[in-house]
Symmetry: C2
Subunit: 343 residues, 2 copies
DNA sequence: TTAATTTGCGCAAACGCTTGCGCTTTAACA
DNA sequence: TGTTAAAGCGCAAGCGTTTGCGCAAATTAA
């Protein structure tokens, strides 16, 4: 290695007395397709190795139009649910030979827009999106331009975009049903971002379960997937004339806030009040009372997303698929069985 | 927009009767430097807008050698501490006009290697690395090739690489000191990956504090930053002939395991046993007993890292800087004051 | 009016790769 | 021996930018 300049494909060609063309073909695994002799292949491989040749992606990308890059935008890496999805999607894409450009939008719709505009320049081949708001003009435009897009968890109902999410209706229905079966009738549901699709579906599930049980006392409050929202709404509820016997929080962040309020009021779970939440998390096992929850099939969501995106990439006629995976009720100790009811 | 083919710089040039050169200069903010008339600038900007021109990064990158891309490898996105760092670094880089290619190595040294090899092809301009093991041959090689690298949190002591981390010695020292001031003498320290630099420093801090207090009863066990390790070691300690009065866990994952063991044994914190841990986390406030901890200056770590990397990029003579930021002792309610000691 | 300077801009050569097309050599067949 | 097919490979044209250099026109100075 006398020359410390990076080797390029030409160097390999010169070294082997082969053409650039053949080198390119061998290095891209197309040797057999173009009938390059086994001997030549070995020669080239060996030389590439020896020269420490690293292909220049920009050049390849410029020529071929393929960047092998997928953009992933996510509302907040600090939300463990999203972090898990990001991690799993990243891995899954890597296995397919793609690289992930990840951006954290901090739940900001405007930032999401400008981030996406910037990513576009980079010839990304596809976009995996956990939306950060209700504006979708920019997404629509991307879709029109032919960029394959898959939404995860959240999605836009008005848009004909592929998505994969949990069956939020079912999850909320089951959780509520479980509460009701345990004898609860006065159930408060603390919601997150009101207009987000998962939230709407969960509320629908809650209401349907209440309805089927003949319970008219629908109580929904809150407006954000935040600790603070959970805290405030729980404070309010505890001090309301008719204190709920059970609370159903629609995310584990809300549950955190709720828990804080309950502790402050010196109530205990589940003796004084029951709590169940959407989203699992390892920490839930270690709380004052381990919290029962609706567990989402996180790994499946991630893998399904990548699978759909790959289909879209290889087949432009791929028809939009919108997938809802079934959640799972994970019971721990935070729900009390009331007055003689059986579990 | 009759033509739905993507516009390129040539289209803009044609549209404005300017040369490609001028268009490029205007669009790259170098208009004034090259004295392009204000009128022409406006003309070009307007046309670019109208044609919906999006520059092709690969082409620019190929020509200029600048990819405006930084690789970030991280041992696990599921570790909230790392997720936070990733998120903050991502934001910080974005502000500097860079894009982050993030990869989760799942704490696997081998994967780290192959991931980095792949990223190299993409002309990344720099690497921010939270190492996933003790092998550093591959890193050394990258460094030799001239790639700017900054380590975060963990680092290789033998390598002359810039890093930014917490002053782990100080953090552990203070935590141990606090335990001792609270009257504890039998203190178990449950460590993580033995050979990792942060771990070694923390152990050194623990020992030094014990030493200065004249305490000879050094108890260090464990070998992994995992829940399981915390669980096992705590189980063992609780059932040992001389049960410690306090446990100092070296990460919040270890603390989780420790907590689980303590609960299982039906001991209470801090009445039966005290617990303090490295790393803060929002959830720590909501545990059965809010845990006192050594809080790392996460935001500062992230921003300092980016700052150093940027310096390296703009000034190749930049001398290696190795920064240790001071941690902060965050007291909650998990340490008991023993026999008449004052806090 | 002429010379010197400034203003405003463009030419054309890379950057390193992929790929459509086609050429030569060798083997197979009749 | 001539014809055909297969094997093995290379030419050269781009992909869309950036950038060193240089040149004409306009302005200013003398």
């Amino acid at each position: 290695m006398k020359n410390n300049k990076k080797a390029n494909i030409r160097d390999v060609a010169r070294e082997t007395n082969m053409s650039i063309t053949s080198v390119s073909r061998v290095l891209n695994g197309k040797a057999d397709k173009y009938r390059i002799a086994k001997k030549s292949q070995d020669l080239i491989m060996e030389a590439a190795e020896r020269l420490n040749y690293v292909p220049n992606f920009s050049a390849a990308n410029l020529r071929s139009g393929k960047s092998k890059t997928i953009a992933l935008t996510i509302p907040s890496l600090n939300n463990p649910f999203f972090a898990y999805l990001a991690s799993e999607i990243n891995l899954s894409l890597r296995k397919e030979g793609f690289v992930t450009i990840l951006s954290d939008t901090f739940e900001n719709n405007e930032d999401e827009k400008s981030i996406l505009r910037n990513l576009l320049k980079r010839n990304v081949e596809g976009l995996i999106l956990i939306p950060s708001g209700n504006d979708y003009e920019h997404i629509l435009e991307l879709q029109k331009s032919g960029l394959p897009i898959v939404c995860v968890d959240r999605y836009y109902e008005d848009l004909n975009l592929p998505y994969v999410t949990t069956n939020n209706f079912k999850g909320a229905f089951r959780a509520t049903e479980y509460l009701i079966e345990s004898g609860h009738e006065n159930i408060l549901c603390i919601q997150g971002v009101v207009k987000s699709e998962p939230n709407k579906e969960r509320i629908r599930g809650y209401k349907e379960a209440m309805f089927q049980a003949g319970l008219k006392n629908i109580r929904v409050s809150g407006n954000d997937f935040s600790i603070q929202n959970g805290y405030l709404e729980t404070k309010l509820a505890i001090n309301s004339p008719k204190r709920p016997t059970a609370i159903f929080t629609l995310s584990n962040t809300i549950a955190m806030g709720s828990l804080k309020a309950i502790l402050e009021e010196e109530l205990s779970i589940p003796d004084d009040i029951s709590l169940i939440t959407y989203d699992d998390h390892p920490y839930l096992d270690f709380l004052i009372t381990p919290l029962s929850c609706v567990e989402q099939p996180r790994a499946d969501i991630a893998n399904m997303t990548v699978k759909i995106l790959m289909s879209m990439l290889s087949d432009s006629e791929f028809e939009v698929s919108q997938v809802k995976l079934d959640p799972n009720l994970k019971l721990r100790d935070s729900v009390k069985t009331l007055n003689g009811k059986q579990t």
